[in-house]
Amino acid sequence: MPREMMYAEAMATALVEEMKRDSNVIFYGQNLGMTDRDPMVRQFGKERVRITPISETAEMGIAVGAAMTGLRPVVELWMSEFMLVAMGQVLNEAPRIRYMTGGQVKVPLVFKAGYGFAAGWAGQHSNCIYHTMMGIPGLKVVLPATPADAKGLMAAAIRDDNPVVYLHHYMLTIDKGPVPDGEFVIPFGVADIKRAGSDVTLVATGWMVKHSLAAAETLAKEGISVEVIDPRTIAPLDVQTILTSLKKTGRLVLVDQATRHASVSAIIAAEVVEHGFELLKAPVKFVTALDTSIPYSEPMEKFVLPDEAKIVRAVKAVLGK
């Protein structure tokens, strides 16, 4: 029985359910569980819910060591850029250990962080850094776009025996949607067709799914049918669902909040040009952030980021209109 829930609430629900289910799951990070009145502390106690200093290297490194020895840590990192001060733990420790030990040691953990906060947070707090985490064997990366995905992917992330980076989008925090009650786990590597269509295949993640669905709605009024695909996890990446859609449409628009050379879109384009080349009837079109840092002032910020209008234009362009 699904019920309406906010995106943030859906993530939290999955975390609580998984912590109830498995006492090895612990949750910590900065600025959480300050007092005994905190709901998570009340429910799970101060051993399993901990507040940390501003020490990302230790926060994530401790999670790696705890995971190596039998816990399943979920680390709240707040903004994904904060991980950059300790990126070695994300890219060169957590995902390497199982392999380097010849499979003896597993590292089940979740690094949870928000991203893409396009609301005047300026140059250092609004970025999309997921490209840094792609092509890192051993690491999985999740980008939920709806409350239901937020819950189902969080449950899957916590149950996964590998290090998982769970990146939720700040602009979606209070968006509401139907979320299945109780046990609900979304397998990784399975793209979701957020809207079926026949003229153009459009692939987007996170907040860009919302913009793309709005654009698809607008275009539908003009008789253009867009299929909107959300990979949901970018590592592993479900290329097959995109290729299947291209068999129908032959036209591809890739939407990404990141700059072009830091985008998932570029990776998807690369897969398509090798494995779906014959399916393409036209050049692939990209709608990405412009090549600047994110400016503070609103008119400039809006100018550099993808939006519904830019997506509509790209879809028409790929149709030669």
Binding site: T35, I51, G120, W121, I174, T292, Y296, S297, M300
Partner: protein
């Protein structure tokens, strides 16, 4: 070291005035969230409560010395001489802003007034400030760098690495740890090993074999004394010092974080909102650095009540102009976003 000469009456009044200007500027920021919703975007962090620490520190500067603060950076340029209206315009995202609207509240910068810039990422600016001190040493400019950061930042690896290198290289820098009791919602006792053990945070200096002192950051003259000693040491080529300046943040960490178009403004202080510590907060307010200094100056008749009133009225009038200037300043053109990516 020989006793340094006493501060002149003019200088004392200047210091008091700067403290008032910081306070009034920040009050106008808070009012902006109510009177002009949406005028300030993102996240703003205020200096109310830090006035004595900021002014007492910067009052020791030589003309060309540099200040390198964090994202909580409104107070410093006000004292350094940046036009307050350009600071406000930046926070409003306008073309006349210090950074033409590219940076906003967290990323003020005014090299012309000896303020190279900030970082919004905890601890990183400590390394940048240390690098500025390296420039001063290599180029033999005689400058001292004032590096300001919070209690929370002292737990970031960048703090540890920077202070060790500054000590080994004897760099001309003073590290001013602004212990305002909290990092966002977290009381320092929950995250700092020294505090948890009842030791001062200045004890961290032992790890770098440099002087470490804790000073009452609500007493502008005590701050001035402690920082002067550290600056003299730095300028003499004897290396860095760590000063823990203890005061209290009067406003919440920053404006509430909301997703547009949900409006935002400053919530209650975390001491009350999160911990229910009304008494702690009241006690801190009772030790308001501005009231303390005003009492001292009027008490020893450096300042008459009328003179004090005049100053206060002058500052209020200035900041009213500042807000009006910022409100009238145009926004940058959208396509200006393409500028300044590369030098």
């Amino acid at each position: 070291m020989e006793k340094r000469e006493a501060l002149s009456k003019e200088r004392l009044i200047w210091m008091y005035t700067q403290m008032l200007r910081i306070r009034e500027f920040e009050e106008r920021i808070k009012r902006t969230f109510i009177e002009h919703p949406g005028a300030i975007r993102g996240h703003s962090h205020l200096a109310d409560g830090a006035e004595a620490s900021i002014v007492g520190s910067l009052a020791t500067r030589n003309e060309t010395d540099l200040a390198m603060p964090t994202y909580r950076c409104h107070g410093y340029p006000i004292v350094l001489g940046s036009p307050a209206k350009k600071i406000m315009a930046e926070i409003y995202g306008r073309k006349d802003g210090l950074c033409q609207g590219y940076g906003g509240s967290m990323h003020l910068s005014d090299p012309a007034h000896h303020f190279p810039g900030t970082s919004g990422i905890i601890g990183q600016s400590i390394a940048h400030a240390t690098g500025a001190a390296l420039t001063a040493q290599v180029k033999k400019t005689g400058q001292v760098v004032y590096c300001f950061f919070g209690d929370g930042a002292s737990k970031q690896g960048a703090f540890h690495e920077s202070l060790n290198m500054a000590s080994v290289w004897k760099l001309p820098i003073v590290y001013i740890l602004e212990n305002n009791g909290y990092q966002v919602y977290t009381h320092v006792s929950l995250e700092d090993a020294n505090e948890a053990a009842g030791d001062p945070l200045s004890q961290k200096a032992q790890a770098y074999s440099i002087p470490g002192v804790t000073v009452d950051g609500t007493d502008v003259l005590k701050v001035y004394e402690a920082v002067s000693t550290a600056v003299e040491r730095a300028r003499a080529g004897r290396g860095p010092s760590l000063i823990e300046s203890k005061f209290y943040r009067f406003s919440a960490h920053g404006n509430a974080i909301t997703v547009p178009p949900v409006p935002t403004q400053f919530p209650e202080h975390e001491a009350i909102e999160t911990y229910g510590r009304k008494a702690e907060y009241a006690a801190a307010r009772a030790r308001d650095p501005i009231l303390q200094f005003r009492a001292k100056l009027t008490g020893n008749s450096t300042l008459s009540d009328e003179a004090a009133k005049k100053i206060e009225e002058g500052v209020r009038a200035e900041m009213e102009e500042v807000v009006q200037f910022a409100l009238k300043s145009p926004f940058p053109a959208p396509e200006d976003a393409l500028k300044y990516v590369y030098a």
